[in-house]
């Protein structure tokens, strides 16, 4: 520690050079932080406790094929299943196709029992929802986005479901309340949710009556998930509508994986960034040591051992990389909200930034190694005689 002032002074020997080197390392760690949090989010999509006890049953052959509503009774009777609910994909938007609304027809009792303690709905508003056939509960962020108020009658366009009444794709709902989420990490995933009654949906649509898009189950013991999934699927084996039951998180993960190996792409980019950086910083360190050969020789004359000189140069490299890494990672932490805006529904965890510190140490050792060795091997006589 007592050498810190010495290291600090030599680091700033050439101010411009150090600043530029520092800035390019900062940029590399900014990229590292941004890309790594995204890669991490895709590799481990929200494995929070809320999801561990949830299963999802879809049609085995295609997510676009439906399942018969009557399966619900059979699934409920499976030992270990605490609750089952059914949902369909509505494919809704408001006015223009870019205004996507995550509208879901739900069975009120089983849905809210299954997602116990996950949503915040006022008791009065919940009662109003139960009492209103065309009622809808809307996420507050979505209300704000479109300027909706409680009491508004809003039309939603479904890209799939025509109404029996007039064959049109436009459905009208009455907003009776707002719905919030308790877990703040789920806030962005739920930001465009609109819930309405399954009864209204099933009675109103011109085809597909009695069918559901998928079932969701809550199990008593998450450790039993695999066995329960097997039992559910066995119920419908060899029927025309075989099911595929899996933990809800696995379902999400499989869906995300369909976009391709995003983690690989991002890490390949990072590889290119750090490879270029290695040259840049390594070169700066080498240059800096080369210029300081007479000084290092003086240090050795004063009695600094070979090991100590080696450590001094390594410490300088470490200091440079650490300062830059901390600034870069802090910047990427500050940029997280911006990335979140572009990637709705993905949970970004700042914990993914921690390995950055380890990488900074590694980088420092790799770029510092050659110059440090050179400083260590320096013979005093040659160096003082300026025989480089």
């Amino acid at each position: 520690m007592k050498y810190l002032p010495l290291i600090w002074a030599t680091l700033w020997r050439k101010k411009t050079r150090t600043i530029f080197t520092l800035l390019s390392v900062v940029v590399a760690f900014l990229l590292f932080g941004m890309l790594e949090t995204v890669a991490d989010a895709f590799a481990h999509p929200d494995t929070g406790v809320t999801g561990a006890d949830k299963l999802i049953s879809t049609n085995k052959y295609s997510i676009t094929l439906s399942l018969p509503f009557s399966d619900a009774q059979q699934i409920r009777s499976v030992p270990g299943v605490a609750e089952v609910t059914w949902i369909s994909w509505f494919g809704g938007y408001y006015q223009e196709s870019k205004n996507f609304v995550f509208a879901l027809p739900i069975d009120t009792d089983s849905y809210f029992n299954l997602h116990k303690d996950e949503f915040i709905v006022g008791a009065e508003q919940m009662q109003a929802f139960r009492n209103t056939r065309t009622g809808a509960l809307v996420n507050s962020a979505l209300m704000k986005k479109f300027g909706w108020k409680i009491g508004d009658k809003i039309p939603l366009h479904s890209t799939i479901w025509t109404r029996k009444e007039d064959g049109s794709l436009d459905w009208t709902f009455d907003i009776v309340g707002t719905i919030g989420v308790k877990d703040p990490t789920q806030a962005s995933a739920q930001s465009s949710t609109l819930l309405f009654h399954y009864e209204l949906f099933d009675e109103g649509r011109s085809f597909g009556k009695g069918e559901v898009g998928w079932f969701e189950e809550r199990v008593d013991d998450p450790a039993q998930s695999a066995a329960i999934s097997g039992r559910i699927d066995a119920l419908f084996a060899n029927s025309p509508n075989e099911t595929k039951t899996q933990p809800a998180n696995d379902f999400t993960m499989a869906f995300i994986k369909q976009f391709g190996d995003i983690g690989f792409v991002l890490r390949a980019i990072l590889g290119a960034v750090f490879f270029a950086l290695l040259f840049l910083t390594g070169n700066t360190m080498m240059q800096s040591v080369r210029e300081r050969i007479p000084e290092l020789a003086v240090l050795k004359t004063l009695g600094f051992g070979d090991g100590k000189v080696l450590m001094l140069v390594l410490a300088e490299s470490l200091l440079l990389c650490m300062i830059a890494a901390v600034i870069g990672l802090a910047l990427s932490y500050a940029a997280l909200p911006i990335i979140k805006m572009g990637l709705q529904g993905v949970k970004l965890s700042p914990a993914a930034l921690i390995p950055g510190i380890g990488i900074a140490v590694l980088l420092a050792l790799v770029v510092g190694a050659a110059p440090a060795m050179r400083a260590m091997r320096l013979s005093i006589v040659d160096a003082l005689a300026d025989k480089r």
């Binding site: 411009t16 900014l30 295609s62 997510i63 499989a254 290119a272 840049l280």
Partner: protein, 392 residues
């Protein structure tokens, strides 16, 4: 002055090998930026090409009104009959309209690289398939037969998804389907799909009716008449689009997203590389301090000195740009990948490093080089001659 410029630049370039370490920083830094930029943009370009190559101006796709995508759409048998009678459709020798009624579903087929299920399009197609889509060619095996559970797979799909080779059996909804052939289709989106007889697919998924109808017009100019005939028919509620328009709209969102992400990452990288270039050029100027001062002392102007530094930076970054673009081309051009396209179904496409992308990459390289060279060049030009000489 031009002579001076040539002389100074020649001198600086000749001494380049002595500064190989610092110079390689510019080259490698910029090569990295350009390689990343070009590769990511090649992804966007490949995706766009696959969808842009789908369809022809004289072919139309008809969906139920307001459905946006085939997967959501629903047309009845009588809709199809009405559409078949509309004016402008090409006819076969027996006078039947060249119209393929299609039923689009997605089925779960595992991806080869991840082993997890992916949504692959199984498209039921009408009997007029080969006349409506003449670009479709069987590359291996034979065409599926109607009324039996046979299908043909696109070459793209065969590369990305498991168990689609000729002779393989696919278990779909209580029934086994045999892959009888592999087809090519001009590298368009249908190469990511599986094709089978529409009525066989319909009975398998218990669906009465169709997703869409695809028809060949007698000429592209027939489009408006054909569209008007269908949209003014009170019995029908359909959207009529030229095929290229439909597929362009499907690809817009994703290719824009890829470009935004790619450009953002490349801009941040470019800033980092620019600092590297600044460093290298400053040290180059410092190393040549005495030389430059001597030149100034014997009457060389500031401008030739300034330009020589700029030229050096530019040449190094140009080299970096060329290396970066070549690396991207070498490693990724033609690399086949797949992703979830606009309509919940997998699209297989190839990364395409186009000439325009290479030019873009090299332009970026030059801009980074110019910015990185400018301030060091100014310093070189302003170097106080007496002091620099005294430092010797």
């Amino acid at each position: 002055m031009f002579k001076q410029f040539i002389a100074v630049t020649g001198m600086s370039l000749r001494t380049l090998p002595q500064r190989i370490g610092a110079s390689s920083v510019i080259v490698i830094g910029i090569a990295g930026v350009v390689a990343v930029l070009v590769s990511v943009l090649a992804m966007g370009a490949g995706f766009r090409h696959t969808l842009a190559d789908t369809g022809r101006a004289d072919r139309v796709i008809i969906l139920r009104g307001g459905s946006d995508a085939e997967l959501n759409s629903n047309l009845t048998r009588s809709d199809i009959d009405t559409i078949g009678n509309a004016p402008g459709l090409a006819k076969d020798s027996s006078g039947k309209a060249l119209l393929s009624s299609e039923l689009v579903t997605v089925v779960n087929v595992p991806k080869i690289d991840t082993g997890t299920d992916a949504n692959v399009t199984l498209r039921g197609v009408g009997l007029k398939l080969t006349e409506v889509r003449p670009e479709l060619k069987i590359a291996e095996g034979r065409m599926f037969r109607p009324a039996v559970r046979e299908l043909i797979a696109g070459v793209g799909a065969v590369k990305q998804f498991r168990g689609l080779n000729v002779g393989s059996v696919l278990h779909l909804r209580n029934a086994d389907w045999t892959v009888t052939g592999v087809f090519t289709s001009n590298g368009d989106i249908h190469e990511s799909e599986l094709l089978a007889d529409v009525d066989t697919v319909g009975s398998s998924v218990e669906r009465n009716g169709y997703s869409s109808a695809v028809g060949l017009l007698t000429g592209p100019e027939q489009f408006n008449g054909f569209k008007d005939a269908l949209t003014t028919d009170p019995q029908l509620k359909v959207d009529v689009q030229r095929e290229p328009d439909y597929y362009a709209a499907q690809s817009k969102g994703l290719s824009q997203a890829i470009n935004v992400v790619g450009t953002t990452v490349a801009i941040i990288m470019a800033i980092g590389a620019m600092f590297g270039a600044l460093n290298s050029m400053y040290s180059a100027v410092a190393a040549r301090g005495q030389e430059i001062a001597t030149l100034r002392a014997i009457g060389f102007g500031a401008l030739p000195v300034l330009s020589s530094v700029m030229v050096e930076a530019l040449l190094l970054s140009l080299l970096g740009g060329v290396i970066g673009a070549s690396l991207a081309w070498l490693f990724f051009n033609g690399h086949s990948v797949s992703t979830l396209g606009g309509a919940f179904a997998q699209v297989v496409f190839q990364l395409t490093v186009t000439r325009a992308l290479i030019v873009t990459g090299i332009v970026w390289a030059c801009v980074i080089g110019l910015l990185g060279g400018l301030f060091p060049a100014l310093r070189a030009a302003r170097l106080p001659v007496a002091e620099a000489l005294r430092a010797a």
